[in-house]
Symmetry: C2
Subunit: 289 residues, 2 copies
Amino acid sequence: MRLISSVNEMMAWAKEQRRVGHTIGLVPTMGYLHEGHLTLMRRAKENCEKVVVSIFVNPLQFGAGEDYEEYPRDLTRDSQLADSAGVDVIFAPAVKDMYPKGYSSFVEVEQVSDHLCGAARPGHFRGVTTVVSKLFNIVRPDIAFFGQKDAQQLAIIRRMVEDLNMGIAIVGVPIVREADGLALSSRNVYLSPEERKAALVLSQSLKKAKELIAEGEGEAERIRQEIIKVIEAEPLANIDYVQIVDNRFIQPVERLEGECLIALAVRFGKTRLIDNLVMEVSPNDSHDA
Amino acid sequence: MRLISSVNEMMAWAKEQRRVGHTIGLVPTMGYLHEGHLTLMRRAKENCEKVVVSIFVNPLQFGAGEDYEEYPRDLTRDSQLADSAGVDVIFAPAVKDMYPKGYSSFVEVEQVSDHLCGAARPGHFRGVTTVVSKLFNIVRPDIAFFGQKDAQQLAIIRRMVEDLNMGIAIVGVPIVREADGLALSSRNVYLSPEERKAALVLSQSLKKAKELIAEGEGEAERIRQEIIKVIEAEPLANIDYVQIVDNRFIQPVERLEGECLIALAVRFGKTRLIDNLVMEVSPNDSHDA
């Protein structure tokens, strides 16, 4: 496995791969890799001849007062993990090379970024789409792999690629969870033992929602209130949002129909965690209780 | 020469050219081609094995009350002209295919778009950078050719390509003028005979500025006032802006030094024309008069 930090070297490597006819898979990450990331890498390895993992804690997607400085970093450990997953290149550029003096260009996706984390973290997705555009241009992958954990991010990137004719296939990979249900996240290291335990309400509340829908509940607000009830029973949990939206344009729905996304953001102490559930609901599945 | 209107067909054609190792030059235009465009095409033909000319009157770069509807269009004549210049493909997509229902993604360049036409036409350059990003992704040219006539547009596109790592060489081609000095523009057809004559003050005022600089004038405001004097002597001319900026970040300068851009936008009746002059001024060239 090769570790590349230079943008030009990364472009040259990718160009050479294309020249010899290799397909390239890209897994963009902020590092501090966990089993969720490794699942993306293995999926990329199955689908592409060469796999690039980018590791870049992108300052542009952190707001004032967010955890940019504290975000966990460990390139040595990340390199070993990526190597073990069969990755060909880790691309870990420096901030000053990604955003040199005078940097002024941004990519924005409207509408899909109106709600959920787009509303809670102003500028966040503009930072994401800008850095992902740069990574796409530098690596020019055939396929890029993103976790379903960041459901809104995935929807935004799908829209950006389609709108801007990027010609890259986007693959969303299901959430990887601990045995007890907690969705994997690099931010889980921030949790105290008590918070770690309390955070189980996220997956538990989604499980409750799933059961309600299976029983025929189709009204979004009723499901939402049940989720809130589960989370609020946990004293350490502070809800940022609980929302039910369509999974393409991420707009609130009143009734569950088609591909819906139930998305949560909840704080435990200073740590903000997200989780979600995507449900394909046919009109016949749901009826008033 | 081939005429392509489908985005997918254009992508497939360009991909095949890359596969067989051809370099591709792109000349983005809004059509109604004139000698300025043809100069770009011939330049592209000299530098690239295949040349694509896009013809697309981009609604996104026209503001409310601007001339989107009236903008002159003549695809038959454009095709003949492009063919005669050795162009391989005209790419003329439909608006509904470039901006389908639900379209939400935009590319923006800050700072470089603060002044001149960026200030006079809010949203204009966001429309330009968005459509050019799409065209770049669809065609993936090795080199793209733009007229120096739209000096700020050229500076913005250079910055976008550098910032977003697009890996495309940008070539700026000097302004082509009529024998009497009027810069070629598709909008010149709007001018009445009297306005056409009055519009000569644009190139005349720039000539005056050039003389002053040759005589050693280095203070931007003095040059600016002389330009304004020449233009205001023409009763049919209404100044939109006269500004002197650095040619890279398009920020106003007090003294001419390095590569400077003198840029004008002036209305004649309903028609808004632009013209400009780029000067490389070394500190020794200019001194107080």
